[in-house]
Amino acid sequence: MGTGELQAIDDAVEATRLRQTDAPDSQVVRFGPEGALKLDSGHSLAPWQIAYQTYGTLNADKSNAVLICHALTGDQHVHNIHPVTGKSGWWDLMVGPGLPIDTDRFFVICANVLGGCMGTTGPASANPATGRPYGLDLPVVTIPDMVRSQAALIDHLGIESLFLVIGGSMGGMQVLEWAASYPERVFAAAPIAAGARHSSQNIAFHEVGRQAIMADPDWRRGRYLEEGTSPRKGLAVARMAAHITYMSEMSLHSKFGRRLQDRERLTFGFDADFQIESYLRHQGLSFVDRFDANSYLYVTRAMDYFDIGASHGGRLAEAFRGTRTRFCVVSFTSDWLFPTAESRAVVHALNAAGASVSFAEIVTDRGHDAFLLDEPELFAILRGFVDSAARARGLA
């Protein structure tokens, strides 16, 4: 990456983002020592906080709450202007008045994940023991830890049972974990473009990203916030590698082909001759403004550790034994990060457990990120699923 392009990093945006760490532009619940969070690693986290957004109104019997679980680098700003980037909500196509997750009917909650950097306790948060940012002193967190922290938030809001838990990718992992850990608290569950475990190939890609961050001299063994540096190059490379896995060869080809960027012929050098190079550099750089490098290490690790079957004696069906939750599992034909086989494994386990499960594989060439895009078939099946579940729960 050329150093000139790094000047494009917006220091003002980064400063705004750093302010979100402890005092986010959203609601936040702070838990003291009495609300210590037990982690899978054996550690106990206290004090800690969780930042969240809500949309719509909770009804009198608190039966219309929807929990949205965000993906790896998402956050709680599902359906509002993002306080750091100024962009609209990441699931504005799905969440809003009259949309499949209808904010006129449902009380929608989305929390920033544990280990994140938008107001929930993460590696950039102050370590109460030292007063300095945690850095790598924060215990490693897992998907079940994230779900446990969300359950604490749901308790705090006085909600006994969620009408729907929904999310894509890492969000879909959280959905499955919710259904396995708190079956009586989840009426309906929709894991999209996800799986019950992170595959070896996925772990491999994450490791490339983490190594890129840790190889950046500005990473300073995770202490960059105190040392006034930032592993921008490493984080941008990590994002570039990951971004490729979110698309498909077909979508890359149709979007970019081998077209050249702002030039007539090859330069016989290492500038971004091709549009795809320029696009990836842009994706990497704009990500650096809004995301914390250490958070990237923690959330990718959480995904890597995820394996619901392994934590239930190697039998995934055991995780869902006796469940009364209604499931709707969705995959995409061109998703090679979480291919349909991963979703089918979940469906087969749910079948074996006698669960009520629907499943559809949506035909699209847009790859893993299709769950964030305008996919009419996705909206159609989720609208049908959500509406019928709402009728079953007596929500008009």
Binding site: A352, V357, S358, R383
Partner: protein, 220 residues
Amino acid sequence: MTRLDPLPQGAVPVGTGSEARVDLRVVAELVAPGSRVLDVGCGDGALLELLGRTRGVDGRGIELSQKGVNEAVARGLSVVQGDADTDLVYYPDNAFDYVILSQTLQATERPKQVLQHLLRIGRRAIVSFPNFGYWRLRSQILFRGRMPVTEDLPYSWYDTPNIHFCTIRDFVELTKEPEVNAVMEKAVALNAGGQKMSISAPWWFWNLFGEQGVFVLRRG
């Protein structure tokens, strides 16, 4: 009677108008109230919905087409997009009281294996299929020398999803094969009007005049 306008690719015709409903009603009458049912090749979920409404059934479905799955899910049904030939293996033994294969047997790659799975997954299997021994189909081959195309089987031979036709008599023989070893609890033949034919009629009569066969089987 010949109808050539094609149905959507992958759809298996179950008759038209009131005939379809008679067919579904006949199957529904065979299901004990309150049971657990898996409908393999459930289409838009019409039978599952009927079973839920009239028999209080806890139903699940498998359907190949995206359109069918979407419509069934919108009806509030639990339907998995999948293929009878490859996905039944993942269902555990005795998971359902009934497994229904309605007008789908002839579209499967391996009807025998599918039938074995039905009998393994369900305590009972209900199978309905178009009878290729029906006299109108026989007469098309006999007199016109052409593969039959009818209102209920509207496809030309080269673009049909139906690849394994059988007669009522063929199916009965299949159920007796040692690997299948099914006990026939009930058998119903429907005539062209979708009406049940007399139980006292001999097999040859069903095989010639029955347009569809509906069977309730259990493991021997």
